[in-house]
Amino acid sequence: MTDLLTFQLRRVLRSWEYLFFTVVLPALFTVFFTKVFGGQVSSGAEYQDYARTYMVSMMAYGGLGAALGATIRLSFDRASGWLRQLRVLPVPGREVVVVDIAVGMLLVLPSLVVVALVGRFVNDVQLSLGTWVSLVGALWIGSAAFVALGMLLGLALEQKAAGAAMGIVSTVLAALGGLWIPVEVFPAGFRTVSQLTPSYWYAGLGRGVVGDGALAVPVLVLAGFAVAFALAALAVGARRPLHAVAG
């Protein structure tokens, strides 16, 4: 299985767009937003609040983008005929799915770690070592919800729709979930919509870990999303085998 895992990892990492949108962009946003908004405050404590909040939001943004980007690609492998080809090679379909999930989970880590490093060493975010580890760990596990969503979209969508979904879904989830602009400045109606998105709760999970909110609710809601997406992905996968060309 490691041969297929290495093979798939190398393929995703060849895409510079992927690295740009999942690692470079969230890291740049972390610096940019913190300097823009955090620069206007007077006290050091207030600055810490801004810097910490934006870092957590950008970790969530990078993490969900990486999880979605790495998994929606499954649709491209169906369109190219590679999944069908694998069916007549000694590479079981179940293994392909397991490896794609593993690739999605693994590739979330660079986004989380890089943004955390930028938060710590560029923006001077102060957290205890235990909190740093918990934060990265919690957001890593929480990204399973977006890996499941990506698998669902990758299995269900045709190539063109999947290509569009890669950019649109993470952008919409980031914007509505309050990852770019905090929910606090949203109008009341938007705030309700925001709470319907998994991205809001994903960032909420991070806020909970760093002590900026409750932890239990985000954990439960995110787990609920993960299970729902995974069940939907299983249902689509059962109806439409990996090697099916269309339909």
Binding site: R11, V12, D77, S80, W82, R84, R87, V88, P90
Partner: protein, 293 residues
Amino acid sequence: MTPALEIRGLTVRYGGTTAVHDLDLTIARGETVALLGTNGAGKSSTVNAALGLFRPAAGTVQLLGREPLAAVRSGGVGAMLQHGGLPSESRVGEVLRLVAGRYADPWPMADLVATTGIDGLLDRRTEQLSGGQRQRVLLALALAGTPPLLVLDEPTSAMDVEGRQAFWTTMRDLADRGHTVVFATHHLAEADAVADRVVVVDGGRVVADGSSAQIKSRIAGRTVRFGCTDRTGLDQLPGVTAVRGTGDLVELATTDAEATLRALLATHDRLPDLEVAGASLEQAFLTLTGGTK
């Protein structure tokens, strides 16, 4: 020894249409067999069912005495699919090594590369291959496990003439080395040139099965051609199996050219542009599949 391929009572349905009707086919080890038919004849459905790509409505398939998927996984069968493909963002060599590494007894890489004519392509990105190069890489994947049985579905469809010739030269070499080769094609010339057995499929049924010489002889291999505007009664002439041709030119396929000619001369004063020729496999094929396609 178990046959290379044994299909019993295969029936394939898509929604309301039946693509393959109760088809039986046994292919012995070492044979080179063409499944010949027009598009929609049921070739691909037969091949895909034989490879276990879907569960047929009825019937059984055994490849080298095993279930299709087990035979594929063990490296007993190599296949080129009509809708198969290569992964993006990867190099040919990486794909080949991934696949070869999965077999207990892989075809030695250097020889595989030489045999399939993909030298110089190993470092190439899969997106940068021409149609013919792509098919040769897919052939290399099919051969990576040194399979005794090769199943190919329209393998030359994306190739130019030279690519085709090179491909079939490779196939003949493989057949000479003892591989069983089964391929679907609608190119009659390919079937004629490469296969030592031709199975003609039409409407999801086997309509003829034999050497290309036998297929031709089944309609006695003669065509009578002449200019004529009135076709009434021509199909009733002795020996005639099909009436074809365009416009004023009539083409009669006949099992007995002499009897057909005598009857024609007795009923027609003139037979302009009269010609009698041996039937090509193409004509034999058209006769076997109903003569109108």
